[in-house]
Amino acid sequence: MNFALAWRILTHDKGRTALAVAGVFLAIVLVFVQLGFFIAVPRGGMLLYDRTRFDLLVASTAYEYQVQPGAFPLSQLDRAKTAPEVALAAPLYFGSAKWRSGEDGKAPDVFVIGLDPQDPIFDSEDIHRQLSLLNRPDTILVDSATRPMFGPLTAGRVVEIESDKLMIGGDYVLGTGFMGLGVILISAKNFVRLFPFRNLDQVNLGLIQLKPRVDPDRAAASLRNLLGGDIRVFTRPELEAHETAYWTTRTSVGLLFGSGLIISFIVGVMVVYQILATLVGRQLPQFATLKAVGYGDRFLVGTVITMALLIVLTSFFPALAAAVGVYAVIRDETLLPVEMSGARIAAVFAATLAMAAASALLSMSSLRRADPADLFG
């Protein structure tokens, strides 16, 4: 009965209902966009981890976040390799260098990842196919998201990095995240040639792949035992929690986008409330009549809530589709990994229901004004 009445009210004036749906649609898109920004930053910081294959990450106790990982002795990684659970322990070397072949004579900073080209650490088969190119002397691979100010990224181009001449062997798709404006891959052997003050005995990160059917938590515990107190071992969930905490609490990013998110939610409530109050206001005489013929307040309240839910549900799915489109634009503009996920859809859906409930509660006051006596006033 609630539903039937709500439906009749909404279909009675289709123009107004369409306007209401459009309004709620925009409010939901707004929440999606702000949530996208809020999550994009930690996700951007996780980019390299998200797209590499490993079960455990070994780092120094000085580890702050991906770009400031500290360093630890390679011998520790070699020791980790001896553990029975471990299938692969791959060292990563990070460095920052001046790319002296930028546009307009500028020398942007490039983030350099040194690795062993034999280690199958990437998710992308395309990167693996190209890794063998790094065995050639002075050859690098360039991330395709490297900014235009670095000049063309065409294979075969010789570029000057610091004072070395290196050749671009090809480009790969991974993303630069917050590593920098440009990222290159280089073999460990060439890495130390580029950074003469570095040596291969000091590793920035170690990626551990476990043998099949090994429990990561248990393997992490036994590695911690094996490697001692100077080393941190992260499982993937621990790493994600650590990086997210870094970006949301240590930088101002969490606060800025968090407040944007909260305000966008309130704006959403305002929009839905505005729409609902108008609808209720227009039907006030009818509601008063229903009261006069004996329907209780509870019935009217139920009807308003049903109306709110109907509007919100109708708007949600088009808004979801639009948000996917908006995310694509944001990805292009910011080069951050803003992607739709099940968790995000669920979160916004819950927020949307909360928006409907909050605004339905707010519009109750106008409902209570439905006084049968007014009908003849």
Partner: protein
Amino acid sequence: MIATPHPGRARRSVGFVPLAWRNLLANKPRLLRSSGGIGFAVLLMLMQLGFERAFFNASLEVIRLLDGDIFLQRASKYRFATRDPFAARDLETARAVAGVASAWPLYAAWHELFWRNPTDGKDFLVRVFAFDPDHPILPLPELDANLKELSDLDTAIVDRGARRFLGMDPQPSAAELSGSKVKIIGSFALGPDFENDGTVVVGDRTFAKLLPNPRGGAPDVELGVIKLTPGSDSLTMQRAIAAVVPTGVAVLTKAQLLELERKFQADVSSAGPIFVMGTLVGFIVGMLIAYQIIYTDVSEQQPQYATMKAMGYRTRYLVQVVLEQATLSAFAGWVPAVLVSILLFRIIGGVALLPLHMTVELALVSLLLTLSMCLISAVLAVRRVVSADPAEVF
């Protein structure tokens, strides 16, 4: 409302605003609702615009502080916060140009030196500036130290506005910079930006010890800060200096230095597009709220408008009333939004340690956005008034 049956006189007696004003005040709960709706949309835009300005201002703040007319930097330097120094002798060359009153070096490191928090012993990347203590070309805000002491080796001044976890406030007596023990002789209040958590200032000798020139000799110069003799023309001087220094060194005015940084931030960083999109979405949602409010209002007043039409008021006048009312609604939303955002800026700026401020410019930009938001909606909604048919009243 009561109006006389003579439109010409009525216009005068009703006046310019009163009808719109009375319409607005006629229903107080609705006024509250509409100013709340518009206000929150404005607040959303204000926050996004405020964040955007904070982002840009934070990155420009140190450049603005620099005490110079003309600046030398390596031509390949693409932004301020990256180490790409040039040879000290090029600054000497510039100093010899007639019309140059002084030319002193600024040394800097952003990603090279680590600060060890003296309380918990943890290391953090820190921004380091250095200059000759006899020529303090970077006037630090609220400096509370004797710069003379900075000439002593291994002394430093710290940023009491730095992020808490660096342990610079309260000022420690000693700390470590990349393994070197330093004595802390004072503090200043600069604060972090989006990339740097805190700042340390050392003398040129200490800097040379921390980051020795790999080729030996004096450290390379990050930025040459040149002051001109009074009365000299900066453009002429810029050309004269550029003629004597090698092509690898760029000669810039302060405005150009700021513009280079602004352009870098606008083109390359993600923050610009994020906040612009946030503002845009706020604007569209605000427009929608305003449309909803004005449309409802106009619909409810339709019989009254039709009656006025029947009495001889022109459509133009009625449209004008609607637009006036939209303008008033805009202000009713904008004023509380500005007040609330002043408060939020204080709170968020205080916690995030960012230069979030309400400025006249920000207030005007948001007012402009609010007015256009409400007026566009009013124009869209006003068609109902235009179509108000006197016959429909009955």
